[in-house]
């Protein structure tokens, strides 16, 4: 039995009066590729944002790679984490956003090299060499000098993936990374991610509405509704043979809406 790399223990999160997560627990094994699916507002994106420390939890605990994310051990007890602790923990995690969030004033290669140079003190030459390898991997080496505004949505998202990978995180979070793309550009981003999933032992969490993509990408699929895991299992089981009534009706609706499964 391998120790989980992510261990979420009874976390709670509310936005105002709306309880998004209420006592959610789950575990992720190292190198696992996880797809989180479910209707809007079911809490799946919130989980990713909490793991990236973009939202704070109201209760519960999260363990990343054997260490508390939001707490520090002090005098035998747990106290809330300070900024320094969070900074150290964030090194283990990277995230790709729905709207890419590239830095518009920096060229493609500068987008990729900025964080390694600033946070790890990587010399420019080394950071650029690594950036070119990553850009080559996502098929955009020839765009290194371009500005983000000159790229298509699919290209921007591939740069964003390279940028997150440049910090070599142990865990990668993908938040609806194809939702903002024109249909004909979805494919190129998916292909990069599928290859990435197959080639690396990074742990990956994917939130998506593309069921076909979730099917191919993931080792395990979690179906969320109302902040809870309604059903989980291997992609084949969830998509071909869902047991829960809510999972069935969600998948039916998604297919009716024209999404591929």
């Amino acid at each position: 039995m391998v120790a989980p790399i992510i261990k979420i223990d009874a976390i709670a999160k509310s936005f105002g009066n709306f309880k998004v997560l209420d006592g959610l627990s789950m575990e992720v094994k190292p190198a696992e590729k996880l797809a989180l699916i479910g209707p809007s507002g079911s809490g799946k994106t919130t989980i990713l944002r909490i793991l990236m420390t973009l939202e704070r939890i109201d209760g519960g605990h999260i363990e990343i790679d054997g260490e508390q994310l939001y707490h520090m051990e002090k005098n035998g007890g747990l106290v809330p984490a300070d900024e320094r602790h969070l900074t150290r923990m964030r090194q283990k995690i990277g995230m790709v956003f729905q709207l890419f969030n590239l830095f518009p004033h920096k060229s493609v290669i500068d987008n990729v090299t900025l964080a390694p140079m600033l946070t790890k003190g990587t010399p420019r030459a080394e950071a650029e060499k690594r950036a070119m390898e990553l850009l080559d991997m996502v098929g955009l080496a020839e765009k290194a000098k371009a500005m983000p505004a000159q790229l298509s949505g699919g290209q921007k998202q591939r740069v964003a993936i390279a940028r997150a990978l440049a910090l070599s995180p142990k865990i990668m979070l993908f938040d609806e990374v194809t939702s903002a793309l024109d249909p004909e550009l979805v494919e190129e981003v998916m292909n990069v991610m599928k290859r990435l999933a197959a080639e690396t032992d990074m742990t990956m969490l994917l939130v998506t509405h593309e069921m076909g993509f979730a099917h191919e990408f993931a080792d395990r699929v979690l179906f969320f509704d109302g902040g809870k895991i309604v059903e989980e299992g291997k992609p084949d089981d969830i998509f071909s043979n869902p047991k829960q009534e809510r999972t069935q009706s969600f998948l039916k609706k998604i297919i009716a809406a024209g999404h591929r499964v």
Binding site: M52, T53, L54, T87, R90, Q91, I93, G94, M95, F97, L99, N101, L102, F103, P104, H105, S107, L114, A115, L118, T119, A146, M147, P148, A149, Q150, R163, A164, L167
Partner: protein, 219 residues
């Protein structure tokens, strides 16, 4: 017949003083705008309070009064300034208070997603500000900074009240000595306008240069 060459020289001397005041005042205003603007966004209450107090005070009192304090009252506190120093201090602090709100507003207008990208890339607060937020916010500040700088240029005329020989002061001297009102006042009207146009043109070219590449058309 009046020999104008000497009087034109006087007015051009005044123009030099006005330019000097504008450049030095703008430099001080720029520094104060960033200190106070960033201060208002600080995590620390004391820093925020200090920045707010500065901004409200200098926006809420007249530039005349501020100038008189700098020149006539400060000596009682043991600080004696030359008229030029007092003028730069009062104009710079006054316009800096307005600029601080420009800095704050521009920083605030940068989308949340840019800050989130910084967190996801594990940049520190200052690193995010320095490398991601400020370079984008600066572009938004430029047009208003241009306006502020022109306001400052026009505001320099108040220093004639503390006997600094700026453009307006010299025009009055020329008028008193020649008895001619139209010529000196027309001259300074044109010079003020030319200087303001110069600032506007400079700011626009700076803006164009900085915006290069952002829209995906020019690189």
């Amino acid at each position: 017949m009046i020999d104008w060459t000497g009087y034109i020289g006087l007015i051009l001397d005044g123009a030099l003083v006005t330019i000097q005041l504008t450049v030095m005042g703008s430099a001080l205003a720029l520094v104060m705008a960033f200190i106070a603007g960033l201060g208002r966004l600080s995590r620390f209450f004391a820093v925020r309070a200090l920045a707010t107090a500065y901004i409200e005070f200098f926006r809420g009192t007249s530039i005349f009064v501020q100038l008189f304090w700098a020149y006539f009252v400060l000596p009682f506190l043991g600080i004696t300034l030359t008229p030029l120093q007092a003028g730069v201090l009062a104009l710079g602090l006054n316009v800096g208070a307005y600029g601080a709100e420009v800095v704050r507003g521009a920083i605030k207008s940068i989308g949340k997603e840019q800050y989130e990208a910084c967190v996801a890339l594990n940049l520190g607060r200052w690193q995010s500000m320095r490398h991601v937020i400020l370079p984008q916010a600066l572009l938004l500040m430029l047009p208003t900074f241009g306006n502020n700088s022109i306001e400052l240029l026009k505001g320099t005329a108040v220093v004639s009240l503390i006997s600094l020989t700026d453009l307006t002061f010299q025009a009055q001297v020329v008028r008193a000595q020649t008895g001619n009102t139209l010529i000196p006042f027309t001259m300074i009207l044109i010079i003020y306008f030319a200087l303001a146009s110069l600032i506007g043109w400079g700011m626009r070219s700076l803006e164009r240069r900085m915006a290069r590449g952002l829209d995906g058309v020019r690189v």
